[in-house]
């Protein structure tokens, strides 16, 4: 059901791009932002603040050069703050680069996110026209495509309904459909979407595959490694504004994961790794019932959380914990495990332990983050490892109210008599 399950193996379907013309060429892109410790955003403050202000330069991109050839599905991955979204915005002419130049050949879709520019007060009909014009179509042409767009989105019955009355799933369908039906030759996409029901998921996956094998060129920014491995012909890893790796998607994905897992606990802040580092997380992932790694899970489906830890130094009575955090930042659930009873209660250096948890996914749709802890001596105070963001995944399914999809049986009976 999930996007991942029906794909051809990574790297398959590779065509010879070496001879295809270059359609995106970036040379020495630099971008920095002035981060004022205190942002002056009113005239009053400007007039009343004298003397110097603390302004830090954040160097988001430091000389990035790459090229993409026609027909390629090109992935850009990196941690938050690595500069990947800034780069995409420069490609899309939303930000201006400080230095370097970008050249492109072909029509570019001007959106980097689905559904941007939708006006909730207008009907689907009006929005589709507006969006088409934003895509660079003639107004008549945009109107002519209305039928195709609505057919694809399966929203033909709702053409004159205002978007504010649409469900989020319907909105995504419409937005996706608008993007697909435009005849842009170059698409810039910030994160693949994984909302909507299973059948729409399937449709999106099919479309991505179709695009992948077409002459359209796609630049996809994501931190979903499965999307990278399944869709991309080539990928690039950005780290602190420089290209850390470029090449085969699975190589790049592996580099990205390594970058994530082996990050030394040297930085400060909530988003950081901590603990005494006596144990190290070798790998962790979610897998479906049939053992395939997944990054999106349908509500109600079974999913297995797997993790492999390795002791760096001897570690006594370790306990391993995982917590799932929902899009609102609320910890909605967790699992924990100690070493098997009856056996040795410590790990020697170099010894590995594998944790495997069967979970029935009861989370409401949205993007979830998994945090991980390892404690020693059965004491919460004795932290061996704290990893704030080891997995992120998307739960899709019908929208529910609240943070979990309650497992329930419910009935309604009209009472007789009286």
């Amino acid at each position: 059901m999930a996007i991942e399950t029906q794909q051809s193996p990574p790297g398959s379907g590779r065509r010879g791009f070496a001879t295809a013309p270059v359609v995106i060429e970036a040379r020495g892109i630099e971008k920095s932002f002035a981060l004022a410790s205190h942002k002056v955003d009113s005239l009053k403050e400007r007039l009343t603040t004298f003397g110097h202000r603390d302004v830090k330069q954040l160097h988001a991109l430091r000389g990035v050069s790459f090229e993409v050839r026609r027909g390629e599905f090109f992935g850009i991955v990196g941690r938050n703050g690595s500069g990947k979204s800034t780069l995409l915005k420069i490609l899309a002419s939303i930000y201006a680069a400080d230095a370097g130049r970008v050249r492109m050949a072909g029509r570019l879709a001007p959106f980097i996110e689905l559904g941007v520019g939708f006006n909730p007060e207008l009907t689907a009909r009006e929005n589709v026209e507006l969006n088409g014009v934003m895509m660079g179509l003639h107004r008549a042409e945009a109107r002519r495509r209305l039928g195709a767009v609505l057919d694809f989105a399966e929203l033909g019955d709702f053409v004159d309904m205002k978007l504010k009355n649409y469900s989020s799933g319907m909105l995504v369908r419409l937005a996706f459909s608008v993007m697909i039906q435009s005849d842009a030759e170059i698409l810039l996409i910030d994160e693949v979407l994984a909302v909507g029901d299973a059948s729409f998921q399937q449709k999106c996956a099919d479309v991505f595959h179709e695009i992948r094998d077409s002459d359209r060129t796609v630049v996809l920014v994501t931190h979903d490694m499965h999307a990278v491995e399944h869709y991309c012909h080539r990928a690039m890893l950005l780290h602190d504004g420089v290209i850390e790796a470029e090449g085969e998607p699975d190589d790049v994905a592996r580099r990205y994961l390594r970058l994530n897992f082996e990050r030394a606990p040297r930085l400060e802040g909530e988003d950081d790794w901590g603990g005494s580092a006596d144990v190290r997380l070798v790998d962790t992932w979610l897998e479906s019932d049939d053992g395939e790694r997944v990054s999106s899970v349908e509500t109600g489906a079974k999913v297995r959380l797997q993790a492999v830890f390795e002791a760096v130094r001897e570690i006594n009575q370790p306990s391993f914990g995982f917590v799932f955090t929902n899009p609102d930042g609320v910890d909605v659930g967790g699992v924990g495990q100690e070493l098997p009873a009856g056996g040795p209660q410590k790990l020697e250096p170099g010894q590995r332990v594998r944790i495997s948890a069967e979970i029935e996914n009861q989370f409401a749709p949205g993007r979830y983050v998994v945090k991980c802890w390892v404690f020693r001596n059965q004491s919460y105070a004795d932290l061996a490892l704290h990893a704030p963001h080891v997995i992120d995944f998307v739960v899709f399914g019908d929208a529910t109210s609240g943070a979990i999809a309650l497992k329930h049986e419910i009935s309604a009976v009209i009472e007789e008599g009286q």
């Binding site: 013309p21 270059v22 955003d41 970008v102 050249r103 520019g117």
Partner: protein, 289 residues
């Protein structure tokens, strides 16, 4: 790694992308977007509320009624105007256009944050669509004015054909201010508040309630303020051409060409500043939001 450029088909010739700008993305797309966004925005005010269009008429008409009662019944105000009520309504309708357009434009870029930050969008469309929406209402309001004009027994003259010459400078001034204010408000968020106050004050130093030339006993300071206001010659000339052919035109009312120079200088200054500031800020608007 890269193939020699010469072997590529012409269709895949790389072109420099120029980054975000005021006009970016081609002129046809620019005008299509401007038109479509303005029309949908205008429709929203039309259909959005129960009374729709009546509301947008309501404000100038209410203001007109109050002022008319105050200045003809309570304070007996001598203006020397032949058809004071019609003149007042006409002036209010023209000023309402100016106020609605600039007031809408000042927050427009902030209001369209999603579009600005997530799409390649010609930035200039945003404030200009506020002006266009106000222009649509002006068109409808002028129909009401026309009814009043004919009702007051004013006979049409050939000078009515010159109305575009009144509208054009008004439109240019308004659009330039729209650009200036919308760009400044991204950097300094209190510009919108300051402008609301300023526009209210401007109402009283624009010859709306009292014509410049024929009102007896205007204090010198008021007269000086009127003379530096670029709206003054526009409204004064509108009165002469449309309502009272006998009333002095903009030049005569000011007391000669030279007295129009300050207003003209401010007009030019606002236009230059609007275009210059907007062009300078346009590439950086997305980052500042």
């Amino acid at each position: 790694m890269s193939a020699p450029a010469g072997t590529e088909p012409a269709a895949y010739e790389l072109r420099e992308i120029e980054g975000p700008s005021a006009l970016g993305g081609g002129s046809r797309r620019f005008f299509d977007l401007l038109w479509l966004i303005s029309v949908t925005e205008f429709k929203k005010t039309f259909y959005g509320t129960a009374l729709g269009y009546v509301w947008s008429l309501f404000r100038p008409l209410l203001l007109f009624s109050v002022l008319l009662v105050v200045f003809t019944q309570i304070i007996k105000f001598e203006t020397g105007a032949e058809h004071y009520a019609v003149l007042l309504l006409f002036n209010i309708v023209l000023f309402t256009f100016f106020q609605e357009a600039t007031g809408g434009a000042v927050t427009s870029v902030l209001a369209q944050e999603g579009i600005v930050r997530k799409t390649q969008f010609p930035r200039l469309v945003i404030p200009l669509s506020s002006v266009l929406v106000a222009l649509f209402s002006l068109g409808l309001n002028l129909v009401i004015v026309l009814i009043f004009i004919l009702g007051a027994g004013i006979t049409p003259t050939w000078t009515w054909l010159l109305f575009p010459l009144i509208l054009l400078p008004l439109l240019i001034l308004t659009a330039a201010l729209a650009l200036l204010l919308s760009a400044l408000n991204v950097r300094f968020r209190d510009v919108a508040i300051i402008w609301t106050v300023f526009a209210t004050a401007l109402f009283y130093v624009t010859p709306i309630l009292y014509p410049l030339s024929t009102t007896p006993g205007l204090p010198k300071v008021v007269k000086d303020l009127l003379l530096v206001n670029p709206l003054t010659p526009i409204l004064t000339q509108a009165r002469t051409w449309i309502l009272e052919p006998s009333a002095p035109g903009a030049v005569a009312a000011a007391g000669g060409w030279t007295h129009l120079l300050p207003a003209a200088a401010i007009f030019v200054l606002v236009c230059v500043a609007g275009v210059w500031v907007f062009r300078r800020e346009a590439p950086r608007i997305a980052e500042l939001l």
